[in-house]
């Protein structure tokens, strides 16, 4: 059989005859016929220019960005950070954001969607930080949430998940 160099079929044909690999689509129901199509693909997702934020979490730092250009209409820190200023499309600069704030609003995650990596109940909070023009969605890893409650950031630096879950807050 002629093969293109470097291309190897996953399964070789036997005597030129195509054979199935033996795996079976599981049936939920025969009529109507409902089959199972499992998915297990891995997405290789880049944080791109925002990598510094997630690297910062692993180092115990809360990194935001701000537009330092003269004439920038928004001088405050953006958190979540942005590589480019949405008001001017100019490149932002990285700065360390304050690690204290207040709870702006909250709820509790009890029935998370399938890929959730943390335990429940998980108090979800939105944090208001002085000098930051946005709020920041996060969770309270200790204590009971209440609007106005002062909180401070804590970082999961020992076994980082490399996700936003590496940042959480506790009562200050």
């Amino acid at each position: 059989m002629n093969q293109r160099p470097g291309v190897r079929p996953l399964r070789e044909t036997c005597n030129g005859q195509v054979t199935l690999d033996g795996s079976v689509a599981d049936l939920d129901s025969a009529d109507p016929m409902v089959i199972q199509n499992p998915k297990g693909f891995v997405h290789h997702h880049t944080y791109g220019g925002l990598s510094k934020f997630f690297q910062g979490l692993a180092q115990g730092k809360l990194m935001g960005t701000r537009n330092a250009n003269p004439g920038a209409p928004e001088k405050r820190i953006w958190l979540p950070p942005r590589v480019y200023c949405p008001d001017t499309w100019q490149k932002m600069e990285w700065v360390e954001a304050p690690t204290v704030g207040r709870i702006f609003t909250h709820t509790t995650v009890l029935y998370p969607g399938a890929p959730f990596r943390a335990s429940v109940p998980c108090p979800l909070i939105s944090v208001e930080i002085e000098g930051v023009c946005t709020k920041l969605m996060s969770y309270l890893s200790q204590g009971t949430p209440k609007i106005g409650l002062p909180v401070r950031a804590v970082f999961n630096t020992t076994h980082p998940t490399h996700t936003i879950l590496d940042l959480s807050w506790v009562p200050a």
């Binding site: 109507p32 709820t107 509790t108 399938a114 890929p115």
Partner: protein
Amino acid sequence: MIRFKQGNLRIPRFGRPVYVVAAGMTDFRKRYPEKSTEELVVEAVRMAAEENDLKVAPDELRGLVNFCIYSQFADHFGDQLLAEARMHDALGFDPLGNIGVKTGGATGGSSVLAGAMAIASGYASCVPVIGWERMDEVATREGNAYIASAACKNFESELGWFYASYYALMAQRYLYEYKVPRDTLARIAVKNHTYARSSPFAQGAQQITEKDVLASDFASDPLTFLDCCLMSTGAACIFLADEETAFKITDQPVRLTAMAAGSHTLRTADRRDMEVLLLPNETPETYKDMEHEWPSFSSFLAARMAAYLAYNAAGVKDPVQEFDLLETHDAFTISDIQTYEDIGLRPYGRGREFIESGDAYYEGKLPTNLSGGLLGAMHSVGATGIFQISEILWQLQGKWAKYHADPRMWKRFGKTKPKDFRNLQVGNPRRGCAVSHAGTGSHVTVAILDKVTS
């Protein structure tokens, strides 16, 4: 801070009139394994062609079509990219041009807007807008993960993979800022579940009380499960046409007088405060004592923007007085109250009065979500905005009972018309409004429809 510049607030206008001539839909179910997506779509389109008292036979209607719009929120759910091509083929519309539209929960509204643009520009003269969502291939917690994929995946999705929680954050803040009793939210759920009992298409017809809503488990505090919309599988379709074609098809076209879109950041928390964009029924005086920042977590700038543009385009001065019926995107009871304010039914902070006053009920000044809405009837995402406009079409045509009261319609979906069925046809309605909404307010469309009087 958003500062509008010249051009940003231009009032959209259609180059020529746009009409809705027919509508069709399936019933909506949590699981619908009996039918493939193509079957659901063909059945909705057939109903539009065969059961709207049209002057043309279904085959003639097909012959008038020159462009199609397909409306599906998430390729994830159907597990089929380019599903548009499958539906187009199943409907036998090849080789006509078509496009698929995607703007989250507002996909249905945006699809109607795209169809209207095609008609209004003269590009097309007859356009079916066809929507569906196949939400039953995965388990509910996997479905919730897919829906939460419509939050920011870097900074939000990992925090719960659950949209109800993202709305609960808004609910908690809104209740704190405006001291709204929890019971008021419950009344919205009761109202819409009750109206759903008179719809053969509805998935969530339930006889419930405010007490039931408050006593049901928290989905995410302060929202209980009965404060949250359904997850549905089904399809809906409307046909849009220009004036000449519309009157060729039906004696009762309804005019889509104006339609507009607005948007705001996907992440609720990224919404910087700004001055309130005023609707025609508001003045700076209305908000001189406003205590809280706007739009923040309590308001949807996208809905305000869409209402601002659509109201100015249609000449709406006072929505409660001028609209005879309204379909809102009541994905959550809290977002319904927020929307009342965004579209000017009450000033900001006073949305509760729209429900508490009785205005929102069948007997009230502006009956809202007589269809049962997303809480009571359906949220088959790509179909939802089209379902809303279908219900308004039939109401404005005075034909609501034809589609809801006939026991054969109930039988078609394996149901029995309930003994306490209520005729929810509004008396001589002239103008209706539909609000289609995505994300935590990332995209919103507002449509204004008028009965055509000769």
